[in-house]
Symmetry: C2
Subunit: 432 residues, 2 copies
């Protein structure tokens, strides 16, 4: 075991140096292949360390990424280029799309509707409370800044990034539980609400900067499009997907089920992205719509089911997402002393704010604490908001300064890293 | 069935237009997702048409790509951008890497060595004869050009592109046959020889252009590196991979077998690319080295074997390669009347030249005609050579002019499209 780890570490460290020294023409796909090999080995070693420490594997993948991505702080620059490679970025993005599709396949639309009201309340509370707390932290710690800045800080805390939670639930074998459905449903609604909050706050900032009022019509259009997408995808999907898969089952060529399943997932990901939602919302919707019943014609003639077919694809692409996410966390943010106070206060607001979600869970039999914890991670959604804040200007200054940006990066790191062990603890608590 | 085809065609045609009209911010991964959905649906529809016509599915995937890629000739430009998307290009390249890994997994090093001498003879004949025939065609049809141009035309015909043949053998369920081993072994050696031919010819052209002699040392270095890679990868792989997989089987985390298998494949692809061979040579070598025996520890505790795990990944990525390859074939080359005569003669030389390979097959029980046919496709290797020819200059002129380039594009199209039906015919001939 120890020898294997040492061998793997040696390969990880030596390989990119070899590539850099070679001086020969390197086929571009060769570089991508090497980066993928490094990522996959790092993911499994990290996952192994986490598993042995009793933690979900995803925590190890994230931390392996953090280590690889910050090796340049030790003067070792070869690996640090990986997250900047657009090819790796595409594979990582496909990874989280496939993950949400896979998790969506494990539930049905009917099951989601059964917890729909809980999910809606959890989402609304989980957006509103962190938004207000973040605003308050801004007003307290940055009293000289404009209220728009405070509101923007609140907005960055509003949206949950569901990838981490989905994966932890999977690692713990709980992705079909009632908690999982409440959290995942809330995360979808949360994404819509987050979109609205971002539109409202950045619209208000832009309007204030230009000295005019913001357009309510533009916001109504965003809400209408997002709502139409969700209702349309689910209603039309449930209505037509059985027919589509039945027709497709008459095709003779191999691999039709997998191709059609992936094509549905990718098409809805594109559509949700095109109307401004996260592409993973569409992927999750596609997974929800597809049920085993729809493709029984394939399974009854001895083909593998869709869930089984997606697993190896997820096994390849999902670790790429988490390792790359880890690599993108710049530990230098922690060196920004002026940001640390703000970061600590915002992280507390982010975590405490989502615990209010527990109040939104209706009925019995659902672990309220687990739901609150499952909503904690902010991940890439918070960073997208923060980047918008860097690019929006108010009176010639960016709405979010460098300190505030560093603080949000720290919030993202901490909320991401704290969730896997916390969720594991809360779900293990009742020893079910 | 007919309704399904009409529906799918409607979606294929409407979707990109929708995207272009939307005018909203489209997440870049959304565009990639849509392109993948279009590719997967087109692949399955093309594969279905080919299957119903009694042809290997890959022919349908290629032709579906040719149709999609040439829609811009009909004024429909939206889909034509797909093959230019670097993300799709990466996925296609990973597709052919995964295909060769998968095919490699179906054979062992020992099985390959058993047909090693046949493969070597097939490869040498299959490089030498088309090279000489291509040279002859050049000398006859382009008498005013320099002998270096003739030699370069010969060189573009030398190397087989094994992706098509590997896939056809798979479609026909013959990828474990003796013919498959001879062809695949020959294709690997062929790639090494092609590399040498390209190095020698372009070295000679560059030296002639500069008025000096070419370096024999540089060529010896290429041969030595390629040989060292093949022998090293196979010998070290066979020696150490059982041990590596046995050690890895002690890891507790999920998905270790798949991750380690893919990492081996990707690492060897990188290495073969880094020394100037095609990355697929490394992927094939990785597949050859890994045997079921090496990962029995995983299978004996109920996990899926590596071949089964790779299948869905190949099912996703391999059609991307073939559809994109089809999309890249520019039918306008056929409109270049001056190129057509040269193209016809070179295609004849390319096809007839590889039939001489049948002479290299030793022993009984191997279908010689099928081996000759399996070596026909030129694919991307011929195009790489042709692009080198465009960029090399001799007396101020590119070694290959526009006509000669168009002619080579036509050779690639014809040798690629003719192989699936021909191979199916030859393997079906004896009705085994």
């Amino acid at each position: 075991m120890r020898r294997l780890l040492a061998l793997a570490a040696g390969v990880l460290l030596a390989a990119p140096t070899l590539a850099a020294e070679g001086g020969v023409h390197v086929d571009p796909i060769g570089t991508v292949a090497l980066e993928l090999a490094v990522i996959l080995v790092a993911a499994k070693l990290g996952g192994e360390v986490a598993s042995r420490a009793g933690q979900p594997a995803v925590l190890g993948e994230l931390l392996a990424g953090v280590v690889l991505g910050n090796l340049d702080l030790l003067g070792f620059r070869a690996v640090a280029a990986i997250p900047a490679d657009p090819a790796v970025d595409v594979l990582a993005s496909l990874g989280v799309i496939v993950l949400l599709f896979e998790v969506g396949l494990e539930s049905t639309v009917a099951e989601m509707l059964r917890v729909g009201l809980s999910s809606l309340l959890v989402a609304v509370i989980g957006v509103a409370v962190p938004f207000l707390l973040g605003w308050g932290v801004g007003a307290l710690l940055l009293p000289e800044a404009s209220p728009y800045v405070h509101a923007f800080l609140g907005a960055t805390l509003s949206a949950t990034s569901v990838g981490i939670t989905a994966r932890v639930l999977q690692d713990l074998g709980r992705s079909r539980s009632a908690e999982a459905r409440v959290i995942l449903g809330a995360a979808v609604i949360d994404d819509v609400l987050g979109l609205v909050v971002l539109a409202v706050v950045s619209g208000a900032v832009a309007a204030a900067d230009a000295g005019r009022a913001m357009s309510a019509g533009a916001i109504a259009a965003i809400v209408a499009k997002a709502g139409a997408f969700l209702v349309g995808a689910l209603v039309l999907g449930v209505r037509f997907s059985p027919r589509l898969f039945h027709l497709a089952s008459r095709l003779h060529t191999r691999g039709v089920l997998l191709a059609l399943g992936l094509a549905s997932c990718f098409a809805l990901s594109w559509l949700s992205g095109a109307i401004g939602l996260a592409p993973i919302v569409g992927a999750f919707a596609a997974g929800l719509v597809l049920e085993e019943l729809h493709y029984r014609d394939f399974v009854s003639r001895g083909e593998h089911g869709l869930e089984e077919l997606i697993q190896p694809i997820a096994g390849f692409l999902v670790p790429v997402f988490f390792v790359v996410m880890g690599m993108r966390t710049d530990l230098r943010a922690f060196g920004d002393v002026r940001a640390l106070g703000l970061a600590a206060a915002l992280t507390a607001a982010a975590i405490v704010g989502k615990q209010a979600c527990a109040l939104g869970v209706l009925g019995r039999g659902v672990d309220r604490i687990a739901v609150g914890i499952g909503m904690i991670p902010r991940g890439e959604v918070g960073l997208i908001f923060a980047n918008v804040g860097l690019s929006l200007h108010l009176g010639g200054q960016p709405v979010l300064g460098a300190d505030a940006y560093s603080a949000i990066v720290i919030v993202v790191i901490l909320t991401t890293v704290v969730t896997p062990p916390a969720l594991r603890w809360s779900l293990g608590r009742l020893a079910r």
